[in-house]
Symmetry: C2
Subunit: 219 residues, 2 copies
Amino acid sequence: MEPAYPQPLVMVDTALFTIRDERLCLILTRRKEPPFEGLLALPGGFVHAQEDADTEAAARRVIRGKIGFDAPYLEQLFTFSGAARDPRGWSVSVVYYALIPWSSLEQSPSAEAFPVDGLPPLPFDHRQIVAKAVERLRGKATYSSLPAFLLPAEFTMNDLHQIYEQTIGARLDKASFRHKILVQDIIEPIPKHFRVGAHRPAQLYRLSSKALTPFERKI
Amino acid sequence: MEPAYPQPLVMVDTALFTIRDERLCLILTRRKEPPFEGLLALPGGFVHAQEDADTEAAARRVIRGKIGFDAPYLEQLFTFSGAARDPRGWSVSVVYYALIPWSSLEQSPSAEAFPVDGLPPLPFDHRQIVAKAVERLRGKATYSSLPAFLLPAEFTMNDLHQIYEQTIGARLDKASFRHKILVQDIIEPIPKHFRVGAHRPAQLYRLSSKALTPFERKI
DNA sequence: AGATGTTATTTGCAAAAAACAAATAAGTCT
DNA sequence: AGACTTATTTGTTTTTTGCAAATAACATCT
């Protein structure tokens, strides 16, 4: 009934996205133990069947340990497995990705953000994991409000526009973008709230309750 | 270094989709061992770190054991975990879903297909797994050629149209559908091949090499 | 105060895509 | 041959996009 086989190692890893200086970045952590001690890597750890309700709870524990609070958006990405990915033996890693506004990270000093297009060498199969995470984020950005979770609670249409351009990695027409976003009802203007500056004030928006509904699309 | 905790059970489960009598169905298997002996369930099994290169290899092994050949389309769906999902204790199940043309299933007698909207009671958290698998399939159908993998190698435009309607669960205009599919280049007509019947013959198509590229879309 | 610079937001129009309705094509069956 | 049925194309209307330019709103400078 119980399998006679030795059990594989079960762990979680996390890809924590943020946008700093208008660039898509990942939070990395310096490993304090072997293997790969001293190297920068994705934050992760073993799943403790006693304390963790499930792997998502384990991921949340890891993230809280790293940045000190919960990520506004967290989603399971993919499960990586095999004998080659970890020198300690055959392992399974359930990977989660999260979106975190840089504004909330600035105070936690332990969190260092590295642009995804200029990452240092990563241990294990973390390079592959990052590739998959970026691909997923890009993919979802084209038909959902995901990128908005990289912004603080209040943001302007331009903030949103820029963050979509960053995550998708392409130029988007301003007028069309504005129209499509408003039609989707994923954000709502905050009455009488504007960001003031040296120029015309910009309307501030917040996510609406429909924010997580994927955009309507039919084949 | 190695965790002091008892290791969780690691298994794979599979959601095997097919279309029979114009209805979206799942292949279920009757459990031969406790727990839930005798009940119908998703095909699955333990991951054997020795024989399975990774969880995808384990899934393929399970599928081959069930239907006797490889599925034309296989993709990781999600990893379910927790103490409550299996009476034997805390477990992780990496779930894969596959698309299989009914035509290739008709000969293997062990494969029984049940319409997804009329499934029998399922053990473990298999009900949840099914829900997630259907959701994923529906989602991907709106922007990819996935449903085409439920068809045999040669099919008509009407076959394809019906299968999209089935998986998406909505009506699609025939003329628009035809145009969009052809523009995407995911299928190609087989020269001089037609399905003949009591009426006007229908052009036969096959998947093109671009079949797996998701449709182009911008926000 | 008024001119100027700069960013935000709206408007208008041409082009493309989609939805809808209907006609035409190509066989079998009687 | 004519009726019937399904496949495929065509045409028209409506909606969405892409692009360019105009207008709005403020701070700052003169």
